[in-house]
Amino acid sequence: MSSDIVVSCKGVSRTYQEESVPVHALRGVDFEFARGEFVSIAGPSGSGKSTLLNVIGGLDRPDAGTITVDGVELNGLNETELSDLRLHKMGFVFQSYNLIPVLSALENVEFIMQLQGVGPAERAERAMSMLDSLDIVDLADRRPGDMSGGQQQRVAIARSIVTNPVLLLADEPSANLDSATTEDLLQLLRRLNEERGVSILTATHDPIVMSYAQRQVNLRDGAIVEDSAAKVA
């Protein structure tokens, strides 16, 4: 596999049982994602975009197929190994921010580095520097409950990229934000992608988010129906 490929999915399928009725969330998805790309996975509700993001992030396991992230095949990894992979190679931005409510913004950003074993001085410096680069230093001592949705999402982004992950996964990052805040957030993601080379994979059905991505993959009924990269090729 080329070192420029961050994510590779081959024949990935995932079926849920909902009240004894099988729901085919993913049907044999083949997908590759190059380092430094900003890709949006689009599709209507229930198309499988969140499921695809989850199996790539090791939050869920596919029923069939193989997934490789930065050269590591996820099949066969146990929960602890998956946790370590997420901790060291991935960053997550969730729809509902999912910050730790009892920690301040600075502590939330520091926390991931602490899990990685980064020393107190270094992590405090890096966390503050990250808040500064996202223009949210003034939020450092505030807890999530004292921040707006946009502010929380910025802190969530700071948390997700402070460890320099190879891949940033964002699931409906704009779902709870107004248009102005969404634009602001997307400019930030684009800046991170262009300036820091962060690979971003986002699942969305928001046209604004799609418009910021370099590549758009459309899912329907668990299968890729359109990939802008393929069109270009």
């Binding site: 869920d60 190994e81 992979l85 901790l87 991931i112 074993g117």
Partner: protein, 422 residues
């Protein structure tokens, strides 16, 4: 992947505790009322058990001291076969030297020798069987407090004087100043006969003793019963806590054939009474602590349930399940510390004060207390066992409750939790 795991395990293990502890501490206060209720429950349970155990231990100490100081002493030395058969001729020979060696043993505060004989005692036409106890009154007073219980008269001052039980006096229709005739069998088969003046009457509160016991100077009994320098029992006074060590030491030092017994062998009913009471206490404490434990289980079940979203997010961002469980364990530890801190803050000063002042049992209970060798005032004993047992049990209970409640974190699917939250 192996490389990542190896690096991660080297760097991550033992780190990341600072903010984990901070999350645990701050999370406790997300639901203040529940935290205070649970900590209050722990404080109540621990206080109750510490208070009760301290008084239980204190009352045992008093009971043992009072029971052994009454007549038996803390340690007794007899011939081994005398304990089994109680034959008059089964004596300790060379008693003066044996008593001297006993008194030299470290831990022995004082000691006295006794001769025990069964005899027929008569006053005028009335006769009863009784136990004659030959004693050295001065030595006895250094070992036991029996002679403080004379209800009338005085202790013996000469070889022809006796102190008898109130029940025996009543049965013989005798009183102070009357003559009492003692007839028994001497060691070598002759008749031992003594005529004694009753100079004192005791009322021990134990009717069996009051009906059957009379005290006579030891030299007179040895002389009349043909014993020479022989005795049946050497009674030893020690600190209650030292008695076991003294028994061990004397057991090695004294001639073969002598049996050295601790108070719990001489008075097994006291030990049994304490054991039964302790068992009853343990049962009550177990029920109290179990009720508190159920409330802790409930607290942590709710805590984990309410925070599944947070825990799934923590798994999603790469926190190992074991570390999340550790965080819940730290919460349990902090909750325990708050509860135990409150309990100790209240109980230690209170019990320290009560250790000097005691609690008066009241008039109604004084007579009953006497039967159980308890004084009219009970004092707590603040020892490691009474102070640490309940906190240790609650520590284990909180940790087990937290662990059992947080086990589901291991099986919690990060994606399911994150999705459910959205």
């Amino acid at each position: 992947m192996a490389e990542i795991a190896a690096t991660a395990s080297k760097r991550d293990v033992g780190r990341g505790r600072g903010l984990v502890a901070a999350i645990a501490w701050r999370s406790l206060w997300r639901n203040r009322r529940r935290t205070w209720l649970t900590a209050g429950g722990i404080a109540f349970g621990v206080s109750l058990v510490v208070f009760s155990m301290a008084f239980q231990a204190g009352s045992y100490g008093d009971m043992i001291y009072n029971a052994t100081s009454f007549l038996t002493g803390q340690v007794q030395i007899q011939r081994a076969d005398y304990i089994e058969l109680s034959r008059f001729e089964q004596t300790i020979g060379d008693a003066t030297e044996t008593l001297r060696r006993v008194e030299q043993q470290a831990g022995v505060l004082s000691a006295t020798a006794r001769v025990e004989a069964f005899a027929l005692v008569s006053v005028d036409e009335r006769s009863f069987g009784a136990q004659v106890l030959g004693v050295d009154v001065e030595r006895e007073r250094q070992v036991v407090n029996f002679f403080d219980r004379l209800s009338r008269g005085r202790v013996m001052a000469g070889p022809d004087e006796t102190v008898i039980g109130s029940g025996l006096a009543r049965n013989l229709n005798a009183d102070l100043g009357d003559e009492i005739v003692v007839l028994g069998s001497a060691k070598r088969g002759g008749v031992a006969a003594m005529v004694l003046d009753i100079v004192g009457i005791f009322d021990s509160g134990i009717s069996e003793l009051d009906r059957s016991l009379l005290f006579v100077p030891i030299a007179a009994v040895q002389n009349e019963f043909g014993l020479g320098d022989e005795v049946h029992t050497i009674v030893v006074r020690t600190q209650v806590d030292d008695s076991r060590a003294v028994v061990e030491a004397l057991g090695h030092q004294l001639p073969e054939g002598l049996s050295v017994r601790n108070w719990d062998e001489v008075l097994p009913e006291i030990r049994q009474g304490i054991d039964v009471d302790r068992l009853g206490g343990m049962f009550m404490y177990a029920i109290v602590l179990m009720i508190i434990t159920f409330s802790i289980v409930n607290t942590f079940t709710m805590t984990v349930f309410e925070r599944l979203r947070e825990f799934s997010m923590l798994k999603a961002v790469g926190m190992r399940p074991g570390k999340i469980v550790l965080m819940v364990q730290i919460e349990a530890l902090l909750l325990w510390a708050i509860g135990v801190g409150i309990a100790m803050g209240l109980m230690v000063p209170l019990l320290a004060w009560l250790q000097s002042s005691g609690i008066y049992l009241g008039e109604a209970i004084v007579e009953l207390a006497k039967q159980y060798y308890i004084t009219d005032r009970i004092y707590p004993a603040l020892g490691p066992a009474s102070l640490l047992a309940a906190p240790a049990v609650m520590l284990a209970a909180t940790q087990i409750a937290a662990f059992a409640s947080s086990l589901r974190i291991y099986w919690l699917r990060a994606a399911a939790g994150v999705r459910a939250a959205e």
